[in-house]
């Protein structure tokens, strides 16, 4: 208890100092107040086609009069904004999907803990990406990171090169950042302390992910090189997965996970896992088609079809492979297969045909399958299979741009150039993520906030860290999987 109180105080101080430091460094408050005040925004909006600010008819009428006739460009801005926001909502919903998949794949005594982590990925990420991340990622700066727009101060009204407000673009990108952060929570489930996880979440959404993002989407050095990752197989998925991988290695496996006394640890609810996967699949229709960042009919329709069919192909290939090699069609393989297909199609989705998408998705499922088995053999405990789903399939998807991409892919152009650039990018991102994550987790470990104590893991992180259980009324038998008969 005593140590708990102290740990808590340190955490609060840390968070406070984070804010204070940031404010001082950026003179943030005043700038924010000036720049992002809704007056400005509202005026600008009025130049758009805005009919009425309030629902009440009385108030709305007078406001309309003196406005200039909206132009075609204004309309395009409206359509694009609606599209990007809707897509962002779908990506946001993916957090729910991740939370459910991860909750379904852990044991009942760890459920509250994993839900907390997913919930605070979102919450911490919302603050951190607003304060620091977005600026680092998209602000002008050097080839490695941006140096403006912290706390969204000084952002332009319309995002440069696009038609939509910077706020809309920011929100879309925030949803991606939260996704990247949440991937590792599944890898490291069942043994990571909550305090340490909060720090992890802060660092990833504020620093690691945005820097990688700057390289590729923020005009950084990989973008210059011609590296192509349309919706983030590498930027989002692999980055998250490599961080999780290092985390899992530093943490070590859950007790009794490997070795002679190993006990099976099946996930506690297949309905939650399946529901989560359905929601992720749905969310991906925001992730990929939304990354067009404009409502251009041809591309967004094509991307939607490709995304869907790759998921289907991944589910089928992984399920059939498991059936062939283990003897039964298994639900977890099917779910992870669909996700692997989705991750794989994420990079090339705008530049391939549906038929090629089937191939990419199906191979994504297969890559994932062997990836999970590889980690198992190496005794790396990836609770939900996220390293394989997001990391290995992400690498495959990034390479697929260089193979099938209509604009630079091997099979269409005969040139290895794009494939080479893709490979460079994959290694660069992997290296950066592994190194920074290693430093971060080692530091968290050094203060003793990383791995939960053995008794906490026996009792369950839920009781130990959160003083509660997920299902207080249900009799559960944590150590004995029970079939019927």
């Amino acid at each position: 208890m005593q140590t708990h109180k102290r740990g808590f105080t340190v955490l609060v101080l840390f968070i406070l100092s984070y804010f204070v430091a940031a404010f001082v460094l950026n003179g943030a408050f005043s700038v924010v107040a000036q720049e992002a005040t809704p007056e400005t925004t509202a005026e600008a909006a009025a130049e758009d086609a805005a009919p009425a600010e309030e629902a009440a008819p009385e108030e709305a009428a007078p406001a309309e009069e003196a406005e200039p006739e909206p132009t075609i460009a204004d309309l395009i801005a409206m359509i694009d904004t609606v599209w990007v926001l809707v897509a962002a909502f779908l990506v946001f919903f993916m957090q729910t999907g991740f939370a459910l998949v991860e909750a379904g794949f852990v044991r009942a005594k760890m459920v509250v803990n994993i839900l907390m982590k997913n919930f605070f990925d979102l919450s911490v990420g919302a603050i951190a990406y607003w304060a620091v991340g977005f600026g680092l990622m998209f602000g002008a700066g050097n080839a490695f990171f941006g140096t403006e727009w912290f706390f969204l101060s000084g952002i332009p009204e319309i995002y440069p090169g696009l038609t939509i407000p910077t706020f809309a673009f920011f929100f879309f990108q925030f949803a991606f950042a939260a996704t990247a952060a949440t991937i590792a929570s599944g890898v490291m489930a069942g043994r990571t302390e909550f305090k340490g996880y909060l720090l992890y979440s802060l660092v990833v959404t504020a620093l690691i992910y945005p820097i990688v993002g700057h390289w590729i989407w923020g005009g950084g050095w990989l973008a210059e090189l011609g590296f192509s990752d349309f919706a983030g197989s590498t930027v989002v998925h692999s980055t998250g997965a490599w961080i999780g991988l290092i985390g899992a290695m530093i943490l070590g496996p859950r007790p009794n996970r490997f070795g002679p006394d190993a006990v099976p640890m099946p996930g506690h609810s297949m309905t939650l896992a399946t529901m989560g996967t359905f929601i992720l699949w749905l969310g991906w229709f925001g992730f990929n088609p939304g990354s067009q960042v404009a409502a251009t009919p041809g591309p967004i329709a094509l991307i939607t079809v490709n995304t869907n069919i790759a998921a289907a192909a991944g589910a089928i290939s992984a399920m059939l492979l498991g059936w062939l090699l283990i003897g039964k069609p298994q639900l977890p393989w099917a779910l992870n297969g669909a996700l692997a297909g989705l991750v794989a199609i994420t990079a090339p989705c705008n530049d391939v045909t549906p038929f090629e998408s089937i191939i990419i998705g199906a191979l994504g499922g297969i890559v994932m399958y062997f990836g999970v088995n590889l980690l198992e053999k190496r005794q790396i405990d990836d609770v939900v299979g996220a390293v394989s789903v997001h990391g290995f399939a992400g690498v495959w998807g990034t390479l697929a741009v260089g193979i099938f991409g209509a604009s630079g892919g091997l099979v269409h152009t005969g040139s290895f150039e794009q494939l080479g650039v893709q490979t460079i990018g994959i290694f660069a991102v992997c290296g950066f993520a592994l190194v920074t994550a290693f430093v971060m987790f080692s530091a968290i470990n050094a203060v003793g906030w990383l791995r939960a104590s053995k008794s906490a893991m026996n009792v369950g992180l839920d009781v130990y860290e959160h003083g509660m259980v997920a299902y207080p009324e249900f009799t559960t038998s944590p150590s004995e999987p029970v079939p019927f008969s």
Partner: protein, 125 residues
């Protein structure tokens, strides 16, 4: 003398056993969920990369407190209803009981385990 019968049977046989007991006039009983292992073998299960055997299979444990003279009839009824002839049909245990007290009426001993229309009343008729 009062005895206790514990019968461990397949879950899907619970309905049949319950009916058989009603038929002979056994009213009071208590059932719980257990998992167990006997002469049968387990079930093979899979989770991701691994195959494992679950050797404790679900059973229903039916426990009946009754007079010694009714033990045989009851055991026979259970045996018949729970029987399939394959491994895993279960076992029946008989234990001594020293006393019984019914909370609502404060009856003790044999009186406490008498029910309307039960096996004893039927015998009298």
């Amino acid at each position: 003398m009062i005895k206790k019968i514990e019968a461990i049977v397949r879950p899907e046989k619970l309905h049949a056993v319950k009916k058989a007991l009603s038929d002979i006039g056994i009213v009071g009983l208590t059932v719980m969920d257990v998992v167990g292992r006997g002469r049968g073998s387990g079930v093979q299960m899979q989770w991701r990369t691994g195959v494992y055997v679950v050797d404790l299979l679900p059973r229903k444990l039916i426990s009946i407190i009754l007079s010694e003279e009714n033990v045989n009839a009851t055991v026979e009824a259970i045996k018949k209803a729970a029987y399939t002839g394959e491994k895993g049909d279960g076992v029946i245990f008989v234990y001594p009981v020293e006393n019984v007290i019914r909370i609502s009426t404060n009856e003790q001993g044999k009186n406490a385990i008498m029910y309307q229309g039960d096996i004893d009343e039927r015998k009298k008729r």
